[in-house]
Amino acid sequence: MNISLSITKNIHEWLFSIMPEGIASITEMVLIAVVYLAIFAVAGLYLVLLERKVAAWFQLRIGPNRVGWWGLLQTMADALKLVSKELTGTERADKFLYNLAPYFVIVSSLMALAVFPFSQEFHAFDINIGVLFLMAISSIGVIGILLGGWSSNNKFALIGAMRSGVQTISYELSVGLSLLTMVLVTGSLQLSEIIEVQKNGWLIVQGHIPAVIAFMIYMIAGTAETNRAPFDLVEAESELGAGFHTEYSGMKFAYFFLAEFINMFIIAAIAATIFFGGWLSPFGITESIPLLGVVWFLGKTLVIVFLMMWFRWTFPRLRIDQLLTLEWKYLLPLNLLNLILMALVVWLNLTIQF
């Protein structure tokens, strides 16, 4: 196994200087895992706050403003409340699967975070199949939703889970194909190499027309894959109560909720990495300060997250048949044509490079 752990070499060398090799590498892995978990639990909570603030802004309200300055501690307080709540469940549910389901969802979304290059140094797991790994991991999360819906022994939860399964399986195809379109330009699945290629211009510029089409398809399919409005049939309040997590309470509900927001961050982060150059600054203006990479990466990601929130408060919800028609009759054929167009562009050397 060659896991390249390239987060801050100093800590790495210090650890290896005071401990034998095997223990040091295990300690390092555990440290990295703890750091990632801590950062993203808190980041997920702040995404929830951001969502509420954006929603309030769109509806001309103020939003949460009591807890902490400008409501900044609101979601932390909510999380503490959720931790202290009683875990209830339905009487004749399949307890084992019912308790297992939230972990599927949260673990699969946290695993995907490991492969993102936040900056040149801050990159936990640079696997040589990065993009494929992301797609593989994201296909497992849906199992948690299906299990949660089925084992709750509740009709609404079951219908919500079925809808979610159908939706995720169909839109996964579009996400994968639009990313594959971009892989044609980079010629590599490794995320660090994809960023290396973009030093000659971000991929959305390099691939011009097919890249823009791929980005639009990716954003539509990505929003659908995270089960967010306008594709939130899974938890359509007016029809299904809360959808697949109707019967969950306390921390288990919080896992589903947090996973949704982390998934949104992941979709935005993939878009930022593949289409907009990841941690690269525009025209290399801050290339001399590598630390600023994190800022650029998070900035790009948050802009895309804002775009997804914008979708949510702008478009009405689709019907299930409209949802499936959109994917199978429009997005998928368009995507396949786009793939051929991109292959032609790359073959004839029509990419724009600076």
Partner: protein
């Protein structure tokens, strides 16, 4: 370290495989099967077959298991339990499984495995070039045959899904 991880994975695979066939609840055994498949992909990761591991996760864990869960969800209720088979059937199945196990063990222990000294990570590029290679050692023929098979099964699926409509149209013309 790799040895420890291997034994942990092997233990997970064997334990969940047994749980999968002995569980009385249908969806639970599907989930145990899922753990077996994830364990196998873990072993692929361990031997640095990253591509195969990711494909194992996407196709088996993400695709086939989701399909099985779907079909179980459609026909099965939470409170239902599977019935135990008759004693005579259980004995026959037990003997058949033991024979299979014996065959595997004999094959594994009689074959001499070569230990690869320096493991090289297989990249996706190598796999792609190997698949489209039509010289000796290339896989272009199986690749094309499989793609033909997939196309045929896709057309078959469409025919089955649209079956009633097609036949009713025929009846109209006749």
């Amino acid at each position: 370290m790799e040895k420890i991880i291997f034994y942990i994975l092997a233990f997970i695979i064997i334990a969940f495989a047994i749980a999968s066939v002995s569980s009385k609840k249908m969806l639970r055994s599907v989930i145990y099967l899922l753990f077996v498949l994830i364990g196998i992909s873990g072993i692929y990761f361990l031997i640095d077959y990253n591509f195969l591991a990711a494909i194992q996760l996407t196709v088996y864990a993400g695709g086939i298991i989701v399909l099985i869960i779907f079909s179980v969800m459609l026909v099965h209720h939470v409170e239902m339990e599977l019935e135990l088979a008759k004693v005579s059937k259980r004995i026959i199945v037990g003997i058949a499984s033991l024979l299979g196990l014996a065959l595997f063990l004999v094959t594994i222990y009689s074959h001499e495995f070569n230990v690869v000294e320096n493991s090289i990570t297989t990249t996706t590029e190598d796999i792609g070039l190997g698949l489209l290679n039509y010289e000796a050692g290339g896989f272009i023929l199986p690749f094309e045959v499989i793609s033909l098979l997939l196309l045929a099964s896709m057309i078959g699926a469409i025919i089955i899904a649209k079956g009633t409509k097609l036949t009713s149209k025929k009846n109209d013309t006749v």
